[in-house]
């Protein structure tokens, strides 16, 4: 493995190790220090107030899913923007118009979603 490449990613490794280690450390500390006495009442959704009815897993609405789909589509578009941003000056006008077509196609999708009322928060 070439030296510089390995050194660059050692930083990533150290950051990941520190982050993961901190989370593990906090969990272990809280497990060791906190007193735990489990009881039936503690397992219900609200400890105070009325008894909850039905199941604990509340169902989310489908419009969240539409927004998540929109997010994912434009996430993928962003992924293509990275290599384009690095190279489009050296590649000339062709690369620029390729990306314009790409974005226009996806913007058409957004306009379609808007027209269909999928963006409205009813």
């Amino acid at each position: 493995m070439p030296g510089e490449y390995a050194i660059n990613y050692t930083a990533v490794l150290v950051a990941a190790g520190l982050g993961g280690g901190l989370v593990a450390f906090l969990f272990i500390i809280s497990y060791l220090l906190a007193p735990h006495h489990y009881s039936e009442e503690k397992a219900i959704s609200y400890e105070c107030g009325m008894l909850p009815m039905g199941r604990f897993w509340s169902q989310i609405h489908v419009r969240y899913y539409i927004f998540a789909i929109l997010f994912m589509i434009f996430d993928v578009e962003t992924v293509f923007l990275y290599p384009w941003a690095v190279t489009f000056v050296s590649l000339g006008p062709a690369a620029f118009f390729e990306m314009v077509i790409f974005i226009l196609v996806l913007l058409f999708g957004l306009a379609y979603a808007w027209k269909k009322g999928a963006l409205a928060w009813r």
Partner: protein, 102 residues
Amino acid sequence: MIPLEHFLTLSGILFSLGLFGVLARRNAVLILMSIELMLNAVNINLVAFSAYLVSTEFVGQVFALFVIVVAAAEVGLALSIIIAIYRSRATSNVDEVDLMKW
């Protein structure tokens, strides 16, 4: 240096796990997750070939990129279909959606 075969073995194990999941699970979302595992196994294969083999240049990486993009589109559509089925049949188990089964 890690031998190429070790990367391929990892991808083989991951693909078999995905295959097991597709065949053994009955919740449609879990089947979709197993398909994601299989796609990732294939991507590891492609990237390993592009790094290790003679004359492939980096076609493997470009191909893996498009595999990921198509996987994203596929997940979006498949989950919509699962939601539509759930709405009409109140289930997301594939073995209960058997209206057209002989």
